[in-house]
Amino acid sequence: MSRQSPTPKWQELSLGCATTEPGSSRYQQTGDWRSERPTWKWENCIKCAVCTVFCPEGCIHMNADNYPQVDLTYCKGCAICVAECWTGCITMEEEKE
């Protein structure tokens, strides 16, 4: 039996709590560890996408307008994107809630 939800009953866990099917990140939502979130100053962004490459979670992607967009479900707030951004257009903002 495989765990398909973020709130399984103990009887629903697989033997030894193993992950038996791919796609476990659908319920392993690591974004709630974050205390700060990356915020872009769009007028300085040159759409180089270096932030998407260096994001260790792979949770920044380019949107339809070719601007980077972060998926906060998985962003842990590590600020590597801030360190790598060439134009300095990303800053970390404290999470309010």
Binding site: R3, P6, T7, P8, K9, W10, Q11, L13, S14, L15, G16, C17, A18, T19, T20, E21, S24, Q28, T30
Partner: protein
């Protein structure tokens, strides 16, 4: 056909593991377990046992290698003692949490300091909460028989947990005893080939040991708790099957001459043998005293124990370890937990004996009996006491 012969218990235990046709032995030598792994290394080197012997650099590595081999679906065996068991500590939890079947023999020895290679139960008792099934043998025959029994329990599809087999270092491990050793063919009729419920397989990939975040850790712990409690029925069934096949029946809790006993001594391991000799003499003199011994320690056979001590007025509990600054010895703590709130619960006299290899003689039982008898006659229950200490234990709880 099994043959009865005089053999060192460590050698008999190693041969029993060999006859179980183990696939992987990963171990690091430590006194007093050394002869077990040395003999297994010889069996492999001389071609008598087709297994991988992994001469690891530490016990931490030994238990890690055992986890890997069990995860790959190999029948896995290891052995350790004392500091070695302590060095395995963090990996022991993982073996149980990942539900990895394996058998580990622990030749019980005191923990440092002061450094001491002799026998007590401080090594295993500080590893009570690791989630392994734990058994205690009292002599060489039992230790040798329990090796295939432990493998069968561990690998049972209903169990799938690591099993720890304890016996007293030196006192049992280095004793030359007459042992009826089951042959490889006999063990084969009792222990089927290992068919793991779940193992690493490149054609059927999955992740073993992923992170368990706060939203699932409690459920994972509950699943482990259920697994070890539910292992009780298979364990009893496997004990019975062993008895039916080979004539030696084992029970989770053993009683000796407890009929009508007012005072029952409770203990584990080899001192029970001395105690039985002492009890025989007491019974001949008309004293109503008996012994109850835990063979199965995890899962704790609470109901069997309650039945075994029913009717006793005082229990004298002998511990081989205690919690400094705490509530005495582990066996006494757990017996109190088991009996708390039951009607007509016996009074409990706790003593800590046999630390770091100090011998326990029949005279020590006389001494403990006097304390229990005083309580039987209405004296207040004393606090736990190191009865063998020179200078006197100040007896605070």
């Amino acid at each position: 056909m099994s043959v009865r012969r005089g053999v060192e218990v460590s050698i008999a235990v190693a041969e029993a593991a060999g006859f179980c046709d183990v696939d992987v032995v990963a171990a690091y030598p430590i006194t007093p377990q050394t002869h077990i792994v040395e003999h297994l290394a010889s069996l492999v080197a001389d071609g008598h046992l087709d297994a991988e012997f992994v001469p690891v650099e530490s016990e931490h590595a030994a238990m890690s290698a055992c986890c890997g081999s069990a995860a790959a679906g190999a029948r896995t065996f290891t052995a350790t003692s004392s500091q070695g068991l302590a060095l395995m500590h963090e990996v022991l939890f993982i073996a149980a949490a990942l539900r990895l079947p394996m058998v580990m023999v622990v030749a019980n020895r005191a923990l440092s300091g002061p450094i001491n290679i002799w026998n007590d139960h401080s090594d295993i008792m500080t590893e009570r909460d690791v989630g392994w099934i734990a058994l205690f043998a009292e002599n060489g025959q039992e230790a040798t028989d329990l090796v295939p029994i432990c493998h069968r329990i561990s690998e049972d599809p209903r169990v799938q947990l690591p099993v720890m087999l304890n016996f007293d270092g030196f006192i049992v491990s280095h004793m030359i005893e007459p042992i009826e050793q089951l042959s490889k063919e006999e063990i084969k009729t009792f222990l089927p080939d290992f068919a793991p419920v779940q193992r690493l397989d490149i054609d059927n990939p999955f992740t073993m040991g992923p992170v368990g975040m706060p939203n699932v850790y409690t459920e994972a712990k509950m699943a482990g708790e259920h697994a070890i409690r539910a292992s009780y029925e298979p364990i009893v069934e496997i004990f019975k099957d062993f008895g039916d096949k080979f004539g030696r029946y084992y029970n989770p809790v053993e009683s000796y001459r407890t009929d009508g006993a007012d005072i029952i001594f409770v203990m584990m391991g080899a001192i029970t043998e001395t105690a039985m000799t002492w009890v025989d003499a007491q019974r001949d003199a008309g004293t109503k005293v008996g012994i109850v011994r835990f063979r199965l320690w995890r899962p704790l056979p609470a109901d069997d124990f309650k039945k075994a001590v029913a009717g006793a007025k005082v229990l004298a509990i002998l511990d081989r370890h205690f919690s400094p600054g705490g509530p005495g010895g582990p066996v006494a703590q757990e017996v109190k937990y088991t009996l708390y709130g039951t009607d007509n619960a016996p009074k409990i006299v706790e003593v800590v004996v046999g630390l770091g290899g100090r011998d326990v003689f029949p005279e020590d039982f006389d001494d403990i009996y006097k304390r229990a008898e005083a309580v039987l006659n209405g004296a207040p229950v004393p606090p736990f006491e190191l009865t063998q200490v020179r200078g006197g234990h100040y007896g605070k709880i």
